[in-house]
Symmetry: C2
């Protein structure tokens, strides 16, 4: 796929940049562009036609594709009576405007990465990813069988939205760097295109987070206007060709260890559904949730091999970087616990789950994986 | 839960023991007990009533529970018109007889661990778990987005079954041992209650695999008739109290790094379903698939803490045990590749996926997890 055709749209990271303009605290004064005028949702008997606003461009077949899978399954499950049309970011409203869109009923549904809305309230990020948070499997366990879905639904009820887990990218990469990062000192003054909580924590280490739209990252890296940029992982990154202008590819993306995407359903619209259609929404979202992670897991390996074959220098972040970032993240969480009761209520449960889960995963899962990863297979 | 109430039923491992009697090569001469006479499946218009034979006892709420979740979701998705009754192992047919039951249409559906049928053909195990195989996430990726579902469906078509992934336990534990395992030499002569491929590989190291029904394991361990026994993981194991008679709890369960359960649907019955009901089966199974892994991930941590609090001695297998077992497993796979074309066709794809996947997972996922597991959270 041509890089230009991708960067014209907004990727997961560039959407964040766009989203901030729409929903960041500082920019709250900027009015969200009104949604394009659209035909009202049609609901005749059991025939329903709904619209889903995605925060993503069609070129991100992984994430945008999850909403398409969801819509397809809803159609199949309902014998074609429940139709959902999927609209790419920017088509009906700005990519960062979908929270408001689903909240006020401009659309019945949205698909997004909730941490885009951390500027409104950092609590949204707990339904997606926070630095040094839960990995993909842990996030699904917390949502489905811990208190995750219950607690985040209480939070979303305040904005008239019912949320469903719908996709996870798995642990993302730590981004593309023009120069090697040898220690935490190299982060000081680094102009790094990164969004959300990652930026908030990195700023404590002297990094200068940059808010650059997706289409301008390549050129900014090439010209040296920025020193580094993060995107997603090998499969999505390969399309953008960052490796040609920033050869060092770092891991792990500690600010996104298992980011979950969410389906938003306008609460009033949801409550108007029959029990059958409610179940259809839930199960189609679960199918798309599982399939999206599977897609990343199946597609990332070959993409990484291609990148390494093109001379990419794959590097782990030095331990002092991870240690300092972890410490800075705990400071941020302490501040939020002290000032934001909505955050504290969910974070207390989230962090207890994370602690217990990591205690268990370090034994049989970690030992099995590390042994397998060390073998010639 | 009382240990006796559990062991009266058949757990995942004891079912294997029972299953072998029904479907093992050696026992093929033993006729499978005929299914209890039952009313024929009712199908009036779009109202359908089907039966699902589980290989598991109700006491295994994790695995048996996945079939109940599936049936509940099918009911909800169909507005109550598609009803599935779930029957525990032994209720309609022996736990190990469900492959035949779904194949010949005695029941429309079964829920089982396909490696129980490795005696009929080891190829069945590739739809579940083989020693040093795929972990849970990798297995789901291979099934949903690799060639796993396509290839295993071709294989199952020969016995008139359509298979769907429906649950995974995650990496299991390596079992309970009366004495410490200090090196691979300690496996020589060890009387170990273990089933399936694990036993086949362990036999190459001098271990004497034991085939003991679930209800007799505790007493056998207590009396020293056997030296060790494997079951599932902390949550399921805790109920059985093995720690009182075998204090050493080893990990990882290298013969079950991510065992997947499968839903079997009789092919003719499946083909008679409308497109809508076919989608309902697929999505309800996907929901149960994801929820079952989430349940284990949410419940195992507390159970492990309880066990450790009761004095269980948690130990990793020594490296020479893993190394020797890995080598022995490769010998088994080489033999199968040379003699079983059905196995070879699927294993070639499976092992290529495993190789590529582990290459990728060793970077950002492993680094993120190992860092998190080493922190005070």
């Amino acid at each position: 796929m041509d890089r230009r055709s991708v960067v014209k749209g907004a990727g997961i990271a560039s959407v964040l940049a766009a989203g901030l303009a729409a929903c960041g605290k500082k920019e709250d004064a900027t009015p969200v562009a009104p949604a394009a005028p659209v035909a009202p949702a049609v609901s005749t008997g059991s025939e329903i036609r709904w619209r889903l606003a995605s925060s993503f461009p069609k070129a991100l077949d992984t994430i945008y594709g999850a909403a398409e899978t969801f819509a397809k399954k809803v159609g199949e499950l309902s014998g074609g009576k429940f139709t959902i049309t999927v609209h790419a970011g920017g088509e009906l409203m700005p990519a960062g405007g979908v929270l408001d869109g689903a909240s006020n009923g401009t659309v019945e549904m949205a698909h997004t990465a909730p941490y885009y809305f951390f500027g409104k309230d950092p609590t949204f990020a707990l339904d997606c990813a926070i630095p040094f948070g839960l990995n993909s499997r842990q996030m699904t366990a917390w949502m489905y069988q811990g208190n995750g879905l219950k607690l985040t639904r209480e939070f979303y009820a305040k904005v008239g939205i019912v949320n469903f887990p719908m996709g996870n990218t798995g642990a993302q990469m730590g981004g593309w760097y023009r120069k090697e990062i040898k220690s935490v000192a190299d982060l000081n003054g680094l102009k790094f295109r990164v969004g959300g909580f990652g930026g908030k924590v990195l700023a404590k280490l002297g990094t200068v987070p940059q808010n650059i739209p997706g289409g301008e990252i390549y050129t900014a890296l090439e010209k040296g206007t920025i020193d580094a940029a993060e995107w997603v992982g090998p499969y999505d990154d390969l399309k953008l060709g960052f490796n040609k202008v920033a050869p060092f590819y770092y891991y792990p993306g500690w600010w996104e260890g298992g980011p979950q995407l969410s389906l938003y359903v306008n609460q009033k619209a949801y409550e108007g559904l029959s029990a059958e259609y409610k179940a259809i929404v839930e199960c189609a979202a679960a199918f798309a949730h599982t399939e999206m992670q599977a897609k990343y897991d199946a597609k990332n390996p070959a993409a990484l091999k291609t990148l390494v074959g093109q001379g990419v220098k794959l590097r782990p972040f030095p331990n002092d970087v991870l240690g300092a970032a972890f410490k800075a993240a705990q400071e941020v969480y302490k501040e939020l616990n002290d000032t934001n009761p909505a955050w504290k209520k969910i974070y207390d449960d989230y962090s207890a789950f994370r602690r217990e889960s990591n205690l268990w995963f370090r034994f049989t899962e970690a030992k099995f994986d590390s042994f397998m990863q060390s073998q010639k297979l």
